[in-house]
Amino acid sequence: MRKQKGLALFALLVFLFLFFPLLIIVVTSFGENPTIQFPIQGFTLDWYANVFRISGFINSFWLSLRVSLLATILALVIGVPAAYGLSRYNFKGRTVLKGFFLSPTIIPGVVVGFSLFQFIVIKLQLPIFQGLLLGHFLISLPYIIRVVGSSLEQLDFSIEEAAWTLGSTRLTAFFKVVLPNISSGIFASFMLAFINSFNNIPVSQFLSGPGITALPTNLMSYIEYNYDPTVSALSVLLMLGTILMMFLIEKTLGLASIS
């Protein structure tokens, strides 16, 4: 029993460590002082208004949203069939290919960013937006392969075979039998890949251009030159976004499915 109390206290301290820093951000976002102070003096919502006044933040938010959505959808379109092929068929080179499809996670983000910058932006001279999209596609793909792959491995493929026997084509069987059965895996992989893409810094940092900056990258460069509660306010808005995401995941799948 004493052990339990000690353990509970230890866990409580760890939770404090995890939340105290975020709490400070929330509190400082309401302070009246033009530099960040804790405890705060006064109460104002001006810094929140400021987030919307600095047009860069709003523009980069929409850019981030667009890039992450498109990249994740592209990763789904490419990744779901690939995951299906990798788990459904036993063919030569399967294990190697599986490892290869997960390899973007082994390559450090800055390395992916730098190589894409040099190859796509400098050598191929593709538009910045396309480079950014490709970079985010690359970091999203492994999530899709891994999560969708593991739901496919749990799927009993005899139901697909039953559909074939009953005369459906392979394509119809895939869309009508396989996909609905792995829909929660697809949703989980989509959420994971999207959050990860939206929060990504290293790849986006290399693939920015005039007027094309992802929100986290933009926030990061703002922090390097400014120290005012606008950053706290924007951080709080981002945290609200996280809460919304978690709420959506909890409502559809249960949070346990993404950990």
Binding site: F19, F100, G109, Q118, L141, F206, P216, M246
Partner: protein
């Protein structure tokens, strides 16, 4: 669509995109560091000849090790506590652990700027109590990177360990305690050995995460305390020294792979020993 060729057909688009936009670009930054009229390791020899470069590599590996060890020390008991709680509490606490994990790393690093800065909470508190006369330097130090990285990756360790610890039957702990083991002994002799596979998986995630993280060293380390990732960025984008950036890139990839391989070998070895025990 014949079943013989179809698996290749459906993985082909992904395969092609990965080759064109991952392998080829990687090759194009690394090739020049290894080939200069003939195969050469000159770039790497001169990288390791500079004590400045080596100190950055060493700092990166050292801090990654420290962060990994700290995350086990803080993560394991916490994960154990979460895994032992009843269902309702457990999902609430998992939500609390996941929340920082899903929050942007800029936000999480910024939190520590507020705490460690010259004008930050710690310095203000120390000044107010009269313990110090001048603000002490906490930000832009190795300490700042360490605590910032621990903050970033501890949730990852906890979520990994909870999954493993939940599968340990609580009856065996009770059995150990019934047989006279104190809670601490029971933990060390029963829980710890069973949680090692989870600790290894978590350590791979935390170690490689810290090794390759960019945001935290950039915001909390400053230019005095560069890590490999910020060093790569500086070489590539500020100094325009692509050759050196390519060298750093390959060293980072190799280090990551060596670390993963090492941890996996360790896991295999422990598995084998466990297998022998059961046999």
């Amino acid at each position: 669509m014949s079943s013989k060729s179809s698996p290749y057909l459906i993985v082909a688009p992904g395969l092609i995109l990965l080759v064109v936009f991952l392998v080829l670009p990687l090759f194009s930054i690394i090739w020049p560091t290894l080939y200069d009229g003939g195969f050469t390791l000159d770039s790497y020899i001169s990288f390791f000849n500079s004590s400045y470069n080596v100190s950055i590599l060493w700092r990166t590996v050292k801090l990654s090790m420290i962060v990994t060890v700290l995350s086990v020390i803080f993560g394991l008991p916490t994960a154990y506590f979460i895994a032992r709680s009843n269902r309702k509490w457990r999902s609430l606490m998992m939500g609390l652990v996941l929340f920082p994990l899903l929050t942007n790393s800029v936000v999480r690093s910024f939190a520590w700027i507020n705490i460690l800065g010259t004008n930050g909470i710690i310095n203000r508190a120390l000044l107010a109590t009269g313990l110090i006369q001048e603000p002490i330097q906490l930000l832009y130090t190795e300490f700042a990177i360490t605590i910032g990285s621990l903050y970033l990756f501890l949730p990852l360790m906890i979520t990994t360990l909870v999954g493993i610890l939940e599968n340990i039957d609580s009856e065996i702990v009770e059995a150990a305690e019934t047989l006279g083991a104190s809670p601490v002994v029971a933990f060390m002799k029963v829980i710890w050995p069973l949680s090692i596979p989870g600790v290894i998986v978590g350590s791979i995630l935390v170690f490689t995460g810290t090794l390759t993280a960019y945001t935290t060293p950039q915001l909390l380390g400053g230019n005095q305390n560069m890590m490999m990732s910020t060093f790569l960025y500086q070489n590539a984008m500020t100094l325009g020294n692509w050759q050196n950036a390519g060298v750093i890139a390959l060293i980072m990839i190799v280090t990551t792979m060596v670390v993963m391989k090492g941890f996996n070998l360790l896991a295999a070895r422990i598995d084998k020993r466990g297998g022998d025990l059961h046999a």
